[in-house]
Each structure stands twice: as C-alpha cells, then as structure tokens.
C-alpha cells in the first residue's frame, strides 16, 4: 500500500462470518466504560459485519497489534470519559505510522472532550488522520451509518485505495 499501487478492496480476503467484513471496535487506554462499545457492536453487526470488540482500557500497543493481525475493514474508536480527543490524537498517529494501517478507515466518536469545543476537536482529529469524527452533539448514529454506506459504495466501485476517503466531520 505504501508504494501507492492501487489495491481493489474486493481482492482483500473477507472472513466467512459477518459477510461484509471485519470491524474492530475499541476505546482509549483510560476509558473503562463499556455499554457504548456494546451498543456499537450490535449496531455494526446489524450492518452485516463481524465485530472484534476490544473492551475497556485498551493500551495503544494492544490496539496496534490487533489491527496488524486482523487488518480490519474499519476501526471504530468510541470514548465517553472526556479523554477521547487527547488519547485519540496520540492513537491515530501510532496507527498511521504503521505502513499496513496507513489507509485503514478509522473513525472516532463519543464524548471526546470535557468542555464544549466539539468543532475544534473534530478538526484536529481529522487532521491527525481519522477519516470521520462523530462527537456527541449531532446525532452520531445517523452520521456513522451514512459513513459506513459511503465506505461500502466506495468499496463496490473498486476504486484506487490510495485515494483519501471522503473526510466527514458530523
């Protein structure tokens, strides 16, 4: 991928179960909340994907290792303890440093800051390498579903994987 060669998504091997692909759902290292992760797992399974749910308090190293082993079609980071922005910035840089993960679609959502600066945080997270940011103020679920639809239609057109995904800030 790092040499810019086009790789059609359809050539990637997909697991048998959860037909459409594999999604890793995770949170950040300081966050012990889990109902948000459970909800997302159900939502994404309903969309036809197999979900690997990493659970609470995920150290950066563990997430990177899991993504390298799994090569997911999408990474979803959810955090509700107010530290998601801080930790997300660090996390996405670690992920994008890995050549194999440089183009993995990655999104983040939830209660990402402690005060009300959603727009500024979203912009920074997008710049740092997230393909979409879903802060708590808008309706994140609708926006997330739309994002997945865009992802799927891009995959169907078997376009050039080296092109950036459309940046969406909900």
């Amino acid at each position: 991928m790092s040499d810019g060669a086009a790789v059609a998504p359809a050539e990637r091997t997909l697991p048998a179960q959860g037909g459409k692909g594999t999604v890793v759902v995770t949170t950040v290292a300081s966050d012990s909340h889990t109902w948000n992760l459970v909800y997302l797992q159900l939502l994404i399974e309903e969309l036809g994907y197999r979900v690997i749910n990493l659970g609470p308090c995920v150290p950066d190293d563990l997430l990177v290792r899991e993504c390298l082993e799994t090569a997911p079609d999408l990474l979803v980071v959810s955090s509700v303890n107010g530290h998601g922005h801080q930790e997300g910035m660090r996390l996405i840089r670690r992920l994008r440093e890995q050549p194999e993960l440089a183009a993995t679609p990655a999104v983040i959502g939830g209660k990402l800051g402690i005060t009300d600066e959603a727009d500024a945080l979203s912009e920074q997270l997008s710049q740092a390498g997230f393909d979409a940011v879903f802060p708590d103020d808008a309706d994140p679920v609708i926006a997330f579903r739309s994002f997945v639809e865009v992802l799927e239609s891009s995959a169907r057109t078997a376009g050039n994987r080296a092109l950036p995904w459309p940046r969406i800030t909900a």
């Binding site: 109902w35 909800y39 159900l42 990493l54 609470p56 308090c57 995920v58």
Partner: protein, 435 residues
C-alpha cells in the same frame, strides 16, 4: 496481626447484621468514600447516627482500585478531589483517627472497593483491624477492565486465605460477594445467583467463615423475589458455614433522574429485601444519576429505606413459601452451579474453566476471558430473558429462544427501562456514559 485493643474492636460484621437484620428488620448501608479524612469521619458518624439500623462504609477511590498509587499521591499533593478514600495511601494513624470512637461493637465498618488485584488493599485494611470487605475473583475482574481472570483468581485466593487467618485475633473476618451485580444490568438473575453463590463458596473454601451474598435489584420485583429465594435456598444446600446472609443492592444500572423516581426505586429494593427475608440493603440516593452523593443525601436514603422496610409485611414464618418449589430461576441457577462445580474441586480453577468453556458467560461483558456469546433482553412485562444462551448448560431449561430479539435500539431501551419506568414520561434517552 492486630490484637483486640480497646477502642479498635468492632462487632463481627456478619453476626451484627444477622442479629439486627432479617425477620422483618433490615440493616441499611450506604456507599460512601471521600479522600479527605475529616469528611470520611463525618460521613461515618452521620451513618452511625441515622435513624435506622446501619453499618458504615469506607469506599475506596478508583486510583487505589487499579493500583495507581502514584496517582493518589499526586492528587493528594495537588489537592485534587478523589472519588473515594485512599486507605492504602493515607497513613494508618490517619485512618485510625477517622475510625476512632465511631467503629465499635454496635457499628461495624466495611471497606468497599472494586479491585481485581487487591493485595495492597487487604494488607492495609487488615493492619487497621478492619475485617469486613467485599468482592470476588470474577465479580471484580470481568466487569471493569482486562486483568486476566487467572491473575484475579490467584490474588483473591491469596487474599482470602490471609484474611481468614485474622480469625481469632479480633473481629471475625467477613467477605461479601459482588457476584449478584456484575455489570449491574441485563444479566438474567439465574446467572447472578450462581455467581454470587460460587464466589461465597470460593471464600469459604479458602477459610473465610463469615460471608454474605449479594443480589442486585433488577427490572421486575416478582422475578427478583424468585431469584433471592433461589439464592437463599442454594445457600442452605451448598454453603459450608452458618454465618451467611444476603445483601440486596438497590438498582445498579441507569438510575432515575427525578428524586421521586429514585426514591420509589429504592423503596422497591427495600420491599424486595424484607419480603424475601434478606438481612441487609445497600442504598442508592437521589443524586445517583448526577454525581457522587452528599452525606445528607445518603442519610436521607438510609432513613427512607428503613422506613419502607418497617412498613413492608414480613415473610411468613414456618415452612417454605411457594417460592421453595423448583422455580425457573432456581433450576437454572442450580444447573449452572452444578456444571461449574463438576469442573474441579478447587473452586477458583472451576470458575476459570467455566468461563473458558462458556458454562458461565456474562451478556454484554467484553472482557477477553468472557466468551460473549450470551444475550439477554427485557420482555414486554419487564422480565429479564435469555435471547441466546451460548454454551451455558441450560438448553434443557430455556426454550423458545429466537435470534434477532436483541437489536442496538432495543439495547438502549432495555438499558433505560428502569429509569423511564420510575421517572415521569418524557424523560431524556439514556446516555452511554452512565449519566
């Protein structure tokens, strides 16, 4: 090893609760922990003076629970608020002064924490002559983080055995199981009953003679009454100690946001406890949905619960009520318990193997050592039902399962069912961060 020094000797926790609870009376208890020793002392005093039969609580802060003692030091230096009492970090003399003249033969104090690896905590409280605590190798491991279950079992084994050795040198050591709670929501009662019992058996196997078993109020009073009856029956059948009692927790899930709703829910927990012959109740306050409660809010909750308990009819004395028949919950819980016990004579080992095989599987628990194949939902009457039993040994007992019962929006509805039922209509939807 602490000796029975005057002024330090508490009542035996288990004996105290069994003497003052049950047969229609109820011992009530708060969750309470403040970083500041003066405030902690004030809270204990207010609990003792409340117009109710109370026991005191020292709840530990979350840094201490996960062993981040340096974070505690930094917070204390910088004057930051902690969300509990850092009993490992405050000098023993400080905690002695907190307790001096408050704990005693008529007011035992229990230390509550949530630690999967509690070695430092047990050492600190034993040195203080504090002999009542709670937890369990499973119930303090699976819900909260990613500590491997094997490590939690190992450390809880060690801590239980050391704690048990305190017997005879002060008050009788007592451990309460947290297995009746787990994630606080959406675990069908039979599995909570099984876990609560198995953890109590674990403690007893490692020498602890005074235990209590938790059951957390769920979504349906009748179902909960059936569950508590099943738990008490399984205790009589399996526990190798007479010094046991059952503690009911007021609802541990998404809590009503109105004062009226919060108190009504607490009242129903008190009814549950009294009507099933339980000895103790841990209350929740009107502030539960918003923040950590004030001392005053806790006292209000204690006195309210005691008042409701007083007005609730006692269970009839004499031979077992209809609940003594083999209820659905009893049969399921018994099947789970027997399947786990068949795996190994060492209960800690049996529990680990049970989770490996999926003989125990907590719905929606995302811990790496939980299989995560079971699912549950609320039926139209508010009863908790299995949607998927994974590999649980319940296939002969649970029928009519249909996939597709659990959806993402359905989950949100189930999580907020109690809040919306007890609050007035038009309540905002549940937020997934616990507020």
């Amino acid at each position: 090893m602490p000796t029975g020094q005057p002024g330090r000797q508490s009542a035996d926790f288990g004996a105290f609760v069994r003497a003052h609870g049950a047969r229609g009376r109820l011992v009530v208890q708060p969750r309470m922990g403040f970083g500041d020793p003066a405030r902690m002392r004030a809270g204990l005093l207010a609990t003792r003076r409340a117009d109710a039969h109370t026991v005191g609580t020292i709840t530990l802060d979350s840094h201490t629970r996960v062993g981040h003692l340096q974070a505690v030091e930094e917070a204390l230096r910088a004057g930051f608020d902690l969300n509990g009492y850092p009993v490992v970090s405050h000098p023993a003399e400080t905690t002695e002064r907190v307790l001096d003249g408050i704990r005693g033969p008529d007011f035992p104090v229990q230390v509550r924490h949530g630690s999967a690896l509690p070695r430092d905590i047990f050492a600190a409280i034993a040195a203080l002559g504090l002999t009542a605590t709670e937890g369990g190798p499973v119930s303090y491991c699976l819900p909260y983080g990613r500590t491997p279950l094997a490590e939690a079992v190992r450390e809880w084994t060690e801590c239980s055995e050391l704690f048990a050795e305190l017997s005879g040198s002060g008050a009788e050591p007592h451990i309460e199981t947290f297995g009746g709670c787990m994630l606080g929501q959406l675990c069908p009662p039979s599995q909570l009953v099984a876990l609560s019992l198995l953890e109590a058996m674990f403690f007893v196997q490692h020498g602890v003679r005074s235990v209590s078993l938790s059951y957390a109020q769920q979504t349906h009073l009748g179902q909960d009454q059936e569950a508590v009856a099943a738990l008490r029956r399984l205790c009589r059948e399996h526990l190798r100690t007479d010094d046991w009692h059952v503690v009911v927790y007021a609802y541990m899930g998404v809590y009503p946001q109105t004062d009226g709703g919060a108190l009504r829910l607490l009242g129903q927990a008190a009814e549950l406890a009294v009507s099933t012959g339980c000895e103790r109740l841990i209350v929740k306050t009107v502030a539960e949905a918003r923040r950590i409660p004030t001392i005053l809010e806790n006292v209000q909750a204690l006195e309210y619960a005691a008042d409701v308990a007083e007005r609730t009819p006692r269970p009839p004395a004499g031979p077992g009520p209809p609940a003594e028949a083999d209820s659905q919950t009893y049969q399921e819980a018994r099947a789970l318990v027997e399947a786990v016990l068949s795996l190994h004579t060492d209960i800690g080992t049996a529990l680990m193997r049970a989770f490996q095989h999926g003989y125990l599987d907590i719905p929606y628990c995302v811990h790496p050592d939980n299989c995560g194949r079971t699912r549950s939902y609320l039926d139209s009457g508010g009863r908790l039902r299995w949607a998927d039993i994974g590999s649980l040994p319940l296939g002969h007992l649970v029928t009519g399962l249909r996939t597709g019962r659990v959806t993402a929006p359905g989950l949100l509805g189930d999580l907020s069912y109690v809040r919306s039922t007890f609050d007035s209509p038009g309540v905002p939807p549940v937020l997934l961060d616990g507020t």
